[in-house]
Every structure is written in C-alpha cells, then in structure tokens.
Symmetry: D2
C-alpha cells in the first residue's frame, strides 16, 4: 500500500472543514494527523467527527510534531504569512488558502521563506482542478479554437458573506475576484497587463458601509493582446454561477453551470431543470479532492506544485490594480502596483 | 381585404434584397410598387424576380409617384440623410436602414425634416423585433429578474464585410456595434452614460490598414447605474453569434443562438448539434417580417413607430463616444460627444 | 416573374385555414383563386380576410372553373375520396389532407382515379417538410449513424379534439398516429411489417365512450429488421410534444421540441425555458409553407410529388393493423389487413 | 468517531474492484477487512493496492472470521445463492450483486436463508442511488407530473462484454435489462403485469451464436395501468446511454446523460459537447458510494435495506417473462412465470 502523507490542519473554519472532509472521505493518499484552531472546541469537534487523533494546543505544536509532513493553512488571511514562514522554518510542506496576504511585500516574504526552506508551497486556487476549466484550458492550449481573442468569466456567489468577514477580506478584488484573476492566467497562459473596473453596491448597502463593493464588471487586457472581461456579484438568486467562455480565431468554448441532477421537468408552468449547485462546497467537491491529491502527489514525487506562491502573488497584483482602477476610475496597468 | 401599403425600395443591394423578399413573401399588409437603384440592372433583376411593376429611373421619380405611400431606404449610409429629407418633403413615410448618418448634425437634419413633414420615420434596428430579445425585455420590464444589475451582449459576425465596405462604413462602432448600443437601450430602458473600449485588429490586418478595428470589448455604464458589456468581433468560425444575458436582483435571463434544426447527433466523435444560422438573413428572417409589419401598422393605424429617428441618434452618439474612447484609451461620457 | 399556380380550397375549417393563410402569406409561387365550404359564411369570411376573389357555390363549381389549376381538399375524411375522384376527372391537380379514407378499398379507388387522370396527387403529411425530421432522415440515409437499429417517436398533442371530431376521425391510429406511421417510413426507408399496441383511455373517459382510446405505446418491426416504438397521447400539459430518436450502429440522432424563443430564465424557483409551441399551427408553420411549395413545384416542373397516394395507403394499412392489434391484444402483421 | 463496518469482499473481478475502490476512497463509514477470490493473485493484488490486511484462502474463511460484519458478494451469478446461504448461516450481513440467481427457486432459497438468519440482505441495484433517477422518482411520488401514464427507459452499454461472459450471464433480459425492470418498479411504485419483446442480434453475430440477443425494445404494462417501454442495446458508439422519461397527466420529466464536463465547443465543424461517461464505473461513481453507505447505514442503524431480496426476485420474474415473450413471440404475463 502507498504511504499516506500526514497532513495537519491549521484553522477549522468553513474552508478548513471542506478540506478536512475531503481528505477524510476522498483522498486515499493522505491522512489528517492533527488539527489546530484558536477556538479549541471547533478543533475538538472536527477531530471527533473525522477521527483525527491529535488536537494541537498551538500552531507551533504542529510545526514541532515530527509526524506532520505538511500543513494546510485555512486561517484568516492576515495570519497566512506568519504561519507560512513558521511552517517553512520547521520544514513542513505547505498548502495555503488564497490570498497569501493583502499586500505584495508580505506575500514576497512568505514566498521567500518557502523557497529558502525548500518546501513545497501550493496556493488554494481550487478552480484550476475542476474538469470544466481544465477542458477549456486544454482547448486553448491545444489550438482547438485557434489563437485566443477574448475570455469571459462569469462568477457570482449565491449570497454574500457576513459583513464581519467583508471587513477583513481585503475587499471583493482580493477576496472573490482573486479566483478569476488566477483563472484568466490559467486559461490564457498570459499575464494581465491592464484592468479597468466599473462597479458598485447593488446587493446590500451594508457592504458599502464596510468600505467594499459587491458587483463589478472589469475589462482586462493581456500581454498577449487577448482581451478579457469578468463579471462578479456577491449574490445571485439562482445559486452559484460559475461559467467561462473563450473565443478564438477558429471557434469558441464555453462551460455551463453544473447541476445536482440532469432532470428536466415540463409542466404547464414551463420547462425547468435544477438550479446550479448552491455554493462552492457542493460545486467544487471533486475539484477539492483533485487539488489535495495534486498537492500530495507533488510532495511525494518531489515535483513542482501546479500552482505556487508566484501564482498567488500575480493574482494579488492584479487585484491591487483593480482596486486602484475602481478608486481612481481609470484604466490601471498592473506594473503600476506590482 | 385590408388595403396594402405601397412601398418603394431605394437601393437593391444586400439588405435591400432582404427587405424586398420579406415584403414579397411574408408581409401580407404591404406590396412593393417600385424600385430604384443607381445600378439599373440590379433594380431590373429584382423587379423581374419579385414581380415589381415599376423600375424607377431615379429616386426623385419615386418621390413624385403618387402611388407610393412609403419608401425603404437601403442605400449606402452617406446618401441616407439627403434621401430622407427629399422623401419627407414629398410626404412619403420613411423606413431607413441604420445608421441615419455618421455624424449627429446630419442625423438631426434628417430627423427634423421627417418631423416637419409629419411623416412616419422608422429606423432599421431589426433585432428589436426578434422573439428572443423581446422575451428578455419583457422579463426586465416585468420585474421577473428584479432590478437590473448587468447586461451582457455577445455579437459576432460569421465573417467580415469586404474592405471596400469597411472603408465607408463609419467603422465598427457605428456600423456593427450600432445594433448593440440600441439593444442596450431597448433592453435596459435606460440611457448609456459612459463607455470604455478595449479593442484591436485580430481578424484581418487589412481592416486595420483601412483605419478600423475588428474586435472589441466595451464596458458601459447606464444612467440607471446598471453596468453593461458588449463583445464584438467581425469573424466567428462557427457562425453568426447573437446572444444576450441580463442579470438582476432576483435572477438572470439569457438567450442562446437559434439553429436551423434541433437535431443532436451522438457518435464516437462527440455530441453535436447544428451550427447557429450563418448570418443575419437567415437568423432574423422572422424579425425582418415583424419589423416591416410593424412599420406598415404604424403608418396605417397612424400610431408612432416603435423605433424612430431619436433612437437612431442616441445609438450614434454612443458609437461616437466609443470611437473617442478607443482613440484616446480612456473612459468617455456620451455627453462629451452628443 | 414566375407564373403562380391557381389553387382553390375545398373546406374552410381548421386545417383549411392553416393552408389558406400559408398560401396567402408565405407561398410566392401560388395564389388562392377560389374557396368552397358547405358553410357558406365560413368560405365568405375567409375570402374576405385573405382577398380570395371567388367564393364557389359548390365543389363542382370549382372543378368546372378553368382558372383553377389545383385543389386543396381539407374537408372531413369521408368526403376525401369522392372529391379526389371528381377533381381527377376534371383534370385538377390534387393536394389532400390525411388520411385519404378510413378503408383501403376507397383509398385505392381514389389513387386509381388520380393515376388514370394523370394529375399530381399529394398527401398532407406535413412533418416530412420540417427541418428537424429532414435532418434525421439525412443522417440515416447518409450513413452518419451507421445501420439503423431502432427508431423512437414521441408525439403528443397539447389537448384532445372535441368528442364530435373523435367520433368521425377513424380513431387515434388513423387520425393521429397516421403521421407517425408515415414518419417511420420516411425516416427508415423501410416498410412496417408488424405492430403491437398497448393503450387505453387516460385523458378523458368520454373518448372511451366514443369508442376510441387516447394514449398508446406501439412497438413496430420493420421489414429491414429495424425496431420502432411510438408513444402517442392526446394531451400533454406542457404543449405539443414532437420528437424523434434514431439509433444506429455508429451513433444516434435525436430532435428536441422547437420553442418560440431560446431564452432561459434562472431564479430561485429554478432554471426555466419556454414551453414548446402549443400546437401544429405554430409548430409547423415553416413545414406547411415548404409542403405547399413542394406541391406547387411538382406541378409546375412536372416532377413526381414527394409524398403521394401510395404513401397515404401504406400509412393507412399500418393504422388498420394497429387497430386490430389493440382489439385482439396481439401482434399483427400489416399483411393481415393490407 | 463513528464505528466503521468491517466488510469483506468475495470476488475481486470488475464489479468487485468498483466496490472495493468505492469503500476505500469514498465510504467513511466502512472499511475493507478482507478479500477472497478463487484467483489468489487477483485478491492479493487488490489487497496490496488498497491496503486490505487479510487475503482469505476461501469464502468459508471469511464467513468464520469474527472481525467480518458483512460480506460483499461479487462473484459469477451461479455462486451467488450458495454464498448467500453460507453467509447467512454465519450471521454475516449480505450485499449481493444482481441477479441473485437465474431461476426463482434458487432465489427464493437465498431469500429464505437471509430471512431465517435475520441478517440484512441488499441487492446491488446501483441506479436507485443515482441523483437523476431519485429526482424522477420524487417527481412521480410527489405528484409533480400528475398520475403516471408512461415510462420510457433508454439503456445502452458502450460495448458488449466478452462472449465468455455472455454465455453464463443468463442472457440480456436477466443480466442487463434486470436493472431496467427494477428501475420501472422503483420509479412507478407499481408491479409489471405483462411484457412483449421485439429484439434481435444487431451488434455481433457471436452473441447470437452464444444463444443471446443484443438489442431489444420491450413494451411493458403495469398493474396500475401505466405503460412502459425499455430500449436496450449492448453497444452504443457514443458511450453509456442512461436516460429515462416519465409522462403523466400534468407533465413530463426526463433525464439527460451525465458528462465528464459541461464544456461546449463551437467551430466550423459544429457545436459539440463531451460524450457521456463511457461506462458504469465512471457514470455511477457517486451512486456506488451512496449504495454502500446506504447498506452500511441500514446495518448500523438496524433499519430495513432500501432494496432487498424480494426486489431482486421480482426483477428476475419479469426477466424470465421477457425471455419467454422473445422465444414465443407473444405478450407474456409475469404471473405465467412467477
């Protein structure tokens, strides 16, 4: 039997629970060997539910545990960098949720620490591991649609997070659109050169009061000359809306939303199919399994991670440029900020 | 039996042939009573094919013909305004292809002439008469998707027009996107306040040499606060791509391309359905019939046309703003130009 | 200009009105030169509405009118054969609605009369002229799905006809399924050898009282070895359901219902598109135009009709076999009845 | 942490491997504690791959192992009943692949043994656990489509099994259609009263030589009066075709094939989406997990299995009736055989 990678989880909140359940139920190549959360009861409850043998009293205890091969960092964003640096110093391989940090200097420090320690460092851009996006990337990379002219991403949440979360999230461009900046890079194979944002508060005035917006359309120009546009909204009545369209000189490829079943019901009221999956936990179940498997494989086989610190940094830089574009109401080149 | 409106056609080129065939085969409320084209053989050939009794030696001959109730102006853009003015003076009702002119002053003069003469004056924004767009408009106007947050139009031709046509077309923003500016207004019920263009030459370098571009994505802000984006390209390998998506506080509505048949064939090579209709003549066959019927009904029943000179002017103003945005690479308010 | 074929209509009821409107609005190669209906007011009203110059006092008056090139027989089934015979004797070309008669002897007499007179004789199997079915036939005939293994037809009306109509219709197998027997032959290019029916009264008990059933599934074996199945029901809550699937050694081809628009609306209540067209008048609008154009072309160009008396006879024979199968609850070979 | 049910696997062939991988990777409530296969190397290889600690020398060794809570019987059909009886005597809970046996007497003996021993006994009708079929059943049971008129099942394999398998399979009606007989019962909530088969050898003559057919359409009548039809073929060029349509007095519900991704690519060659999943292992991955979880939950919570021995018997009886119908070319009532 294959050796299982021993992974400890730091942060037992929403996304931590997603990853823990994924490892327990779906990833045969790894096992959870420990968990830490500042809220001890959350860690204990998870350990009990999933049969994790060790509840650590601190993150440090995890870093000093020789059994631990790798850590999964699922804490609030402002703790990511210090935890990455400490984990790297302890020689642990690292999987960290996006974004690494809300500024480039801190991000750079984290990347440098991982590099210096020679540990694997993967960023949680889960959508890269989804079969729909993988198919689109393959079509573009394989020339099936010719040279790429435009990319269009639609990404809408089913509902906004709590205002308390909004306040520390870094704002929509660093918290939510960060996935789309990365998706643009992943699909196009090119870097984003310039962004122009139009947006506003359309969902909940409290989001505005918290200093953020909830809806935007951003126009993007790539270094390759390809054009892109992303539509984001924190709330869509019909569920989690996750689609992309790529258009090239030979054709186009687009994805539809995945649904929990394929049934179509026809009555006098219309022809209806099921709503899309409600949110990321159900929509990206398979992608989360592939993501962790990919990380484990990289560590075990000693090959580079598929999406690393530099990818996190580049998405962050685009997000900062978008923030500036929104504030100053003008097109902003990414080189201005990063 | 209802009286048929006597319509004379001025211009027997591509779009003129579409309208003539529509009237002959599909519009039971009108009949073609004459045709003029500077290329006499073109007019004669059409008259012969469709049984039009009179081939006029000049546009003036048509204006002086008492039998003629209304004229259909399908000539090159630079002749639209003089013909409109002459037709109006002669008391003929007018249907004119888009755009009225390439500048606002000329457009205003044409509008004023029609107003002064008290004749009906309809602009050829044919897509307003299509059942897909009508359904989207009804959903927005009827509140089915709540308050409108964003509009997304995809509009791609199957192939570019001849370079000779490009040269006198006024450019992509006045010739091709003009339909989308109008569609934005039609669907949203709001005016466009600002545009920002990213575009370039991706299809054919000769289009660039002719002073135009062939591909763009333009970000739009409406006076209502709604955001919009339009994607245009002069060439799509898979056919004429005509789709729209509206997103609001209660949901979204989107249209798919129409296809010549609904068959889906599954073989080892994949699951395939037919390509979209190849171009506007087959895609908008029904819309063209509704458009002319709508014009005829307005004239016969003495009620306002559904889409008039002012609609043409407003779409033109947005196009001019887009042109400026592209040239100066900055967001441009429509009020700057119009 | 092409000469228009002068067609006179006999029978101004439901299907007669469909054909008359089609000729008036859509068929540029023909014109309605007369109409007869035993209910004079119905004929007059149609003539007035569509500008038909002559309302005939009798069917004979039409047959004796030299202006008339061809007749369209849209009367109740039991009058079809006498009218066909009289029209043939008068040298008029004939388009007759399905079925020719409810028995084979009468059908044979009508076919013989048309043959003897040397006139064109087309049967109103309108679905052959629809682009969906044409695509399926082309796929089968062209070998795109390999050798044909099975055919599946779904054909459901949106609602049942009046009980008075049911009583003289010949029953579901001769009135409604007649289209499907023909479609089987059209698509497969083979004759039906045997049928086995399961059916009953599921929609309205009054249909049973009138001696008919309203729902059945019939299993069919073709001479070629291909198998087929047809599902019929007189009532489907969601509209007129018209689909077919062909399955062969290399793949399958299936058609979906046509809809009045392609819009898909997504709200918290589900993802909905429009209902199929409600009934044959809107569903087969284009097919009716092609059907009459095809008839006119055959007459004018002196070439055989696409679907003639023998096709009507063969569909009838299958229907009679199905009737027997239902009554005796056993598989019945078509050769037993025809 | 929940206790895991200890399951031993008997039979490490194709379907045994599917279940073993499912338990190892997806079912957190169970673990594989042993495996037996007459081909020892097959058992060893599986044990090695999945980390199963015990490779048993015989099925008896498994039955006598106190650690074993339940057995999964995945051997050839003719060994099912003896193994069920032995397992029952040893007090082991039983999950057995379909069919239990190829005759009713043997099936009855197995059912009786499990009943006498008071062990849980579940049959491997995996499709009951799929979300598409569950949605259809819910629509029918919940009255969403009114009273059920007809059911249509399409079930085609991507390719036929080896001829050696065909020979001992019991034939298409007991091996392949057995799933569909069960699906009819599951969806309708009614028993099948009568069947009528039309079928033949269309895929491979060797299947005929082996005494079987490879293609059939069977017409079914339920005790409730509902009608049904199932289309089976051992080979479909485009993949594993698994669809159902239910039609009732208020509407219809149909399922489409699941696909590995939702991407649609449009080029000059057509508009294509991915083929359906190729076969049951990938198509029913989630259903297999739910199936085993359901079995485990029944055992742990002491509640009845969702699909038990009697369900297996009833599907078998329908299959035997179908066999007779094919042989004697006549409608056969299930009561004739069962």
């Amino acid at each position: 039997m294959r050796r299982r990678l021993n992974i400890a989880l730091i942060g037992a909140g929403r996304i931590g629970q997603v990853h823990a359940a994924t490892i327990a139920n779906r990833v045969v190549t790894a096992r959870l060997c420990g968990v830490y959360d500042p809220v001890l009861s959350a860690a204990k409850s998870m350990a009990d539910r999933l049969g994790i043998s060790k509840v650590a009293p601190s993150a440090d205890a995890i870093f000093q545990d020789d059994v631990v091969d790798a850590v999964l960092i699922c804490t609030p964003t402002d703790t990511h960098a210090p935890l990455i640096i400490a984990a790297a110093k302890a020689g642990k391989h690292i999987f960290c949720e996006k974004p690494v940090a809300l500024d480039l200097a801190t991000t750079d420090a984290a990347i440098a620490a991982a590099k210096l320690a020679g540990v694997h460092f993967q960023i949680g851009f889960n959508r890269r591991w989804d079969s729909n996006y993988a198919r689109v990337r393959a079509a573009i990379a394989g020339g099936e649609i010719g040279s790429l002219r435009t990319l269009h991403i639609t990404s809408r949440d089913s509902g906004p997070p709590p205002i308390s979360y909004i306040k520390t999230s870094g704002g929509i461009f660093l918290d939510m659109t960060i996935h789309d900046w990365d998706m643009f890079r992943f699909l196009s194979g090119s870097e984003i050169e310039q962004v122009y944002v139009q947006g506003g508060v359309m969902v909940d005035a409290a989001i505005g009061t918290a200093g953020d917006i909830d809806t935007h359309i951003t126009l993007v120009r790539f270094e390759s000359g390809t054009l892109g546009v992303v539509e984001n909204c924190r709330q869509a009545g019909y569920g989690y809306d996750q689609r992309v369209e790529a258009f090239g000189s030979l054709g186009a490829i687009q994805t539809e939303n995945n649904r929990p079943n394929s049934a179509v019901i026809s009555t006098v009221d219309g022809v209806r199919h099921a709503l899309p999956h409600h949110f990321f936990m159900t929509r990206y179940t398979d992608a989360y399994a592939c993501e962790i498997e990919g990380f484990v494989d990289s560590v075990i086989q000693g090959k580079p991670v598929a999406v690393g610190g530099d990818d996190g940094r580049r998405a962050l830089a685009v997000g900062l440029a978008a923030k500036l574009s929104y504030t100053e109401q003008r097109p902003v080149r990414v080189s201005e900020v990063g």
